[in-house]
C-alpha cells in the first residue's frame, strides 16, 4: 500500500470514500499531533492566518470544543456559531446559511447537523474545505478516526481485531462511521442490539449481527458501547431502561465473556446504569473513554492540517 500524501477529496464528509491509505495517513499524522499535544510546546502555526468556523446546528460540547481546540493549537482563528434550525423551510434556511458563510471567506467549516446529508449540501455550496462534525444518522468520521487511533495506540493494530459495537445502531452515525473504518482496515466487526434498534441490511457493511449480547461480546478485543438516545427510548424501540440494562448494558458479568484484556470504549456522553455500569466505565485498566477524548483533539488537528494543505492537484485520483 503506497502512503498517500494528501486526501483525494477537498472535504471530509465521511469515512466512506476514504481509502485505507488515506486512513493510515490521517492516523499517522494524528499520532504526530498526540506527541505534540503531550509536549510542552502544544502550539503550531500550520493554520496561521486561516479561519475555522464551527457551525453546529445541533448541540454539542465535546465535539465542538475538540474542534475549537484543534484549530487554535494549529494557530487558526476560530469562531463558533449555532444557527437556529427553523422548523419550517429548513432547506432554504440551510442554503442561505451556507451562502452567508461562504461570503465570509472561511478556510475551513466544521458542520454538525441533525439531518443526514445536510453537511454534504453545505459542502456543495461552500468555497472551502468542509469537515463533517456529525450529520443525522449518517456519519461522524472524526469520531471513527479517533476511536481507531485510541485502539491502535493500545493494541498496535486494527487488522484482525474483533470489535463489538453495542447499542442503538439504528440511530447511530458513530456506528456507521466505525463500521466503515474498521472493516476497511481489516477488523472483524460485530453489531449488537435488540432488533428494534438494528437497521435493515446492516450485514451489507460486512458485519455480523447479534441480538444476544453475551453471544456478540464473546472473545471480543474491543467493546464499543453506544449512547442510548434516552429521548427516543421510552416508547416503542425499547421497553425500559431497566430492561435495556439487563440485556444490553455492559457490566462485569457480560464483560467477562470478552477477551480477558478487552478494552471498553464509549463516544460519550454516557448514560451510566443504562448502557454501561459505572464500575466498568471508570476502570482505567480497561476503559479507553478518557483516551478517546484526548485522541479527538489530535485527530481533528490532523484532519484540519491535511485539508488545508495546498496540494498540486486533487484531480489525480489517489484511489
Amino acid at each position: 500500500m503506497t502512503a498517500a500524501a494528501a486526501l483525494a477529496s477537498p472535504h471530509l464528509l465521511g469515512i466512506e470514500g476514504l481509502t485505507p491509505a488515506e486512513i493510515e495517513l490521517l492516523l499517522d499524522l494524528s499520532e504526530h499531533y498526540v506527541q505534540l499535544n503531550r509536549s510542552g510546546q502544544k502550539k503550531s502555526d500550520v493554520l496561521r492566518g486561516q479561519t475555522l468556523i464551527n457551525v453546529f446546528f445541533e448541540n454539542s460540547t465535546r465535539t465542538r470544543t475538540s474542534f475549537e481546540l484543534a484549530g487554535k493549537r494549529l494557530g487558526a482563528d476560530v469562531i463558533n456559531i449555532s444557527p437556529e434550525v427553523s422548523s419550517v423551510r429548513k432547506g432554504e434556511t440551510l442554503l442561505d446559511t451556507a451562502l452567508t458563510l461562504d461570503a465570509m471567506h472561511a478556510d475551513l467549516l466544521v458542520v454538525r447537523h441533525p439531518e443526514s446529508g445536510a453537511v454534504k449540501l453545505i459542502a456543495e455550496k461552500a468555497g472551502c474545505a468542509v469537515v463533517n462534525g456529525g450529520d443525522g444518522s449518517h456519519e461522524h468520521p472524526t469520531q471513527a478516526l479517533l476511536d481507531a487511533l485510541a485502539i491502535r495506540r493500545r493494541t498496535g493494530r486494527l487488522h484482525g481485531l474483533v470489535v463489538a459495537i453495542c447499542g442503538d445502531i439504528l440511530h447511530s452515525r458513530v456506528a456507521r462511521s466505525n463500521m466503515l473504518l474498521l472493516r476497511a482496515m481489516g477488523a472483524e466487526v460485530r453489531v449488537i442490539a435488540p432488533p428494534t434498534l438494528m437497521p435493515a441490511a446492516i450485514d451489507r457493511y460486512g458485519v455480523t449481527v447479534f441480538h444476544d449480547m453475551s453471544e456478540g461480546i464473546r472473545d471480543a478485543d474491543i467493546v464499543m458501547m453506544l449512547r442510548l438516545q434516552l429521548e427516543r427510548m421510552r416508547g416503542s424501540f425499547v421497553p425500559s431502561t431497566a430492561e435495556y440494562f439487563r440485556f444490553f448494558g455492559l457490566d462485569r458479568a457480560k464483560l467477562a465473556l470478552a477477551k480477558p484484556d478487552a478494552l471498553i470504549m464509549h463516544p460519550g456522553p454516557m448514560n451510566r446504569g443504562v448502557e454501561i455500569d459505572s464500575d466498568v466505565a471508570d476502570d482505567v485498566s480497561r476503559s479507553l473513554v478518557q483516551e478517546q477524548v484526548e485522541m479527538g483533539v489530535a485527530v481533528r488537528m490532523a484532519c484540519l492540517d491535511l485539508l488545508t494543505r495546498k496540494t498540486p492537484s486533487n484531480e489525480g485520483d489517489a484511489r
Binding site: 435488540p194 432488533p195 428494534t196 416503542s236 424501540f237 431497566a242 430492561e243 439487563r246 440485556f247
Partner: protein, 429 residues
C-alpha cells in the same frame, strides 16, 4: 419413592403416533416406562386399573382467563384448577388481561405463587405485549420472559397500529419469544357484537364484517415476514383467515393458530333469542365459516384447540345482548366438544389430541404433552365413547356461562393426574 402403575390402558400418544393397549409406570411424578410390553407393574407400585379406557397426555389449554388477580368473583385459580382437572386439562395458560395487567414481572410471580398454593393443575401466563394493552409502549418482554411469561399478547385487544405491531414482533424476535394476536381490525369491529349478515340485521345488532379477521391477519403475516418473528393467531374463526394462514405456512413462515370449540361447534344461529351466552369475541360466524374451521383443523392449518375459557357472572351476562360481556366457560367441555369431530369422522383421534397436547407444548416450549419416558406424568384417563349431556350445574368453574348446556356429547373424563398425583378422580362415578 411413589410409584403408580396404570394397567390395561389404551395408550394414546399423539407425539409418537402410539395407539396401543399397554401399561404405564410413573415414579416421582415422571413416566419411567410405558408401552404395550407393560402388562403388570412392579409389586410395590400402586396399581390403577384403567379397564381398557384411553390414557393420554393431560391436555394443555393455551388460552384461558385465570380470574386472578382482579376478577375473583368470576373465577379463581382454585376454581379454574378444579374445573380444568375435571376437563382432563393438566396445564392452563392464562391471558394477561388481569387487574393489574400482567405487564410487570411481579404479577407473573404473583400468579406462580398462587398456583403453588393451590397445587392443582399447572398454571402459566402470558405477558402483555404493550403496557396496559394500550398499544403504545412495549412491555419488558425480556424481563417478563425471565420471570416465566410463556409468550406475549394483548389478549383480547388486537395490536392494531402497524408500526407498534412491527416493533412488538421485532423486539420479541430478539428473545425468540412467541407473539399471540387477537387478529381482528378494531377499527372495523368497534362496538360490534355479531358478524355482519342476515342474522345480525334481523336482530338489529351492531355487527362487523367477517373480513376484519383476515385483514388483520394478512397485515400481521407481512410483518412476520419482515421481522422473522414467531407469530400465533388466536381463536381463528373465518374461512378467509384460514386461507391466509395456509398460504403463509406454505411460504414457510413460522406461524400457527388456535381455535376454540365455539368456532367449530356453533354458528351464528345461536344468537337468535339474544342468548348472551353465545356472545363471544370474535363473534360467532355463518355456517360456512364453521365448516371451514373444521376443515382447517383437519388439514393442520389450525394447530391448536384451546378452550378460550372466560368465566362471566350473572351481572355480566343478564343484560341486553350488546351490553353483555363476551366469553364462555370452556375448560370442562373442551375435550367432549373436540371429540365430536372424531365421532363424526372429521378428524383422526391422535390428530385431534395433538391439538390439545403436543402441539401447544411445542409452540410454548413446555416439556410436557407426550407419553415419553422422562416426561412428567400429566395424564388424562377418559372413556372415549360414553354418552352424556353437558350439564352446567355440575361445573366446578365459578361461572356457568356455557352455550352448550344440555348438549349430548360422547366422551367422559374419568381421572386426571398432574405429576403422577390425582387432581380429579371420578372412577366411582
Amino acid at each position: 419413592m411413589k410409584r403408580r402403575f396404570f394397567k390395561d390402558a389404551r395408550l394414546l400418544d399423539p407425539a409418537s403416533g402410539l395407539d396401543a393397549d399397554g401399561g404405564l409406570l410413573a415414579e416421582n411424578g415422571r413416566i419411567v416406562d410405558m408401552g404395550p410390553h407393560l402388562i403388570d407393574g412392579p409389586d410395590d407400585a400402586e396399581a390403577i386399573d384403567c379397564g381398557g379406557l384411553c390414557l393420554a397426555p393431560g391436555l394443555i389449554d393455551m388460552r384461558a382467563r385465570l380470574g386472578e388477580p382482579g376478577e375473583e368473583q368470576k373465577e379463581t385459580i382454585d376454581s379454574l384448577s378444579a374445573a380444568a382437572a375435571k376437563g382432563g386439562v393438566t396445564a392452563v395458560v392464562g391471558l394477561p388481561n388481569t387487574e393489574p395487567a400482567i405487564d410487570d414481572a411481579s404479577v407473573v410471580e404473583f400468579v406462580a405463587r398462587r398456583a403453588r398454593e393451590v397445587k392443582g393443575v399447572k398454571v402459566y401466563v402470558y405477558g402483555a405485549a404493550t403496557r396496559g394493552f394500550e398499544g403504545e409502549r412495549l412491555t419488558d418482554i425480556g424481563l417478563l420472559r425471565e420471570a416465566g411469561a410463556l409468550a406475549f399478547t394483548d389478549g383480547d385487544h388486537a395490536i392494531a397500529d402497524s408500526q407498534m405491531m412491527r416493533r412488538v414482533l421485532s423486539y420479541a424476535s430478539g428473545f425468540d419469544a412467541l407473539v399471540i394476536q387477537h387478529a381482528e381490525d378494531p377499527s372495523l369491529t368497534a362496538g360490534a357484537v355479531a358478524t355482519e349478515g342476515e342474522i345480525a340485521t334481523r336482530l338489529g345488532l351492531p355487527a362487523a364484517p367477517a373480513e376484519a379477521e383476515a385483514m388483520m391477519l394478512e397485515r400481521d403475516l407481512r410483518l412476520v415476514e419482515m421481522t422473522g418473528a414467531r407469530y400465533h393467531a388466536a381463536h381463528l374463526s373465518t374461512a378467509a383467515a384460514a386461507t391466509e394462514l395456509a398460504a403463509a405456512k406454505r411460504r414457510g413462515l413460522d406461524v400457527s393458530a388456535d381455535t376454540a370449540p365455539v368456532y367449530f361447534a356453533l354458528n351464528e344461529t345461536e344468537l337468535l333469542e339474544y342468548r348472551t351466552f353465545a356472545r363471544v369475541s370474535p363473534p360467532l360466524r355463518p355456517e360456512s365459516d364453521r365448516q371451514a374451521i373444521v376443515t382447517a383443523l383437519r388439514d393442520g392449518v389450525i394447530d391448536v384447540i384451546a378452550s378460550d375459557h372466560w368465566g362471566q357472572d350473572q351481572e355480566a351476562k343478564r343484560l341486553p345482548f350488546a351490553q353483555s360481556d363476551p366469553g364462555v366457560v370452556g375448560v370442562e367441555t373442551m375435550l367432549p366438544l373436540a371429540l365430536e369431530l372424531y365421532h363424526k369422522g372429521e378428524i383422526e383421534l391422535l390428530d385431534l389430541l395433538a391439538k390439545m397436547t403436543v402441539n401447544p407444548a411445542r409452540l410454548l416450549d413446555l416439556p410436557m404433552g407426550t407419553l415419553t419416558v422422562g416426561a412428567p406424568a400429566d395424564l388424562v384417563l377418559f372413556d372415549l365413547d360414553r354418552p352424556t349431556r353437558i350439564d352446567v350445574a355440575s361445573f366446578l368453574s365459578k361461572s356457568k356461562n356455557s352455550p352448550f348446556d344440555g348438549r349430548p356429547v360422547q366422551g367422559v373424563v374419568v381421572a386426571t393426574f398432574v405429576d403422577g398425583r390425582f387432581v380429579y378422580d371420578a372412577r366411582d362415578a
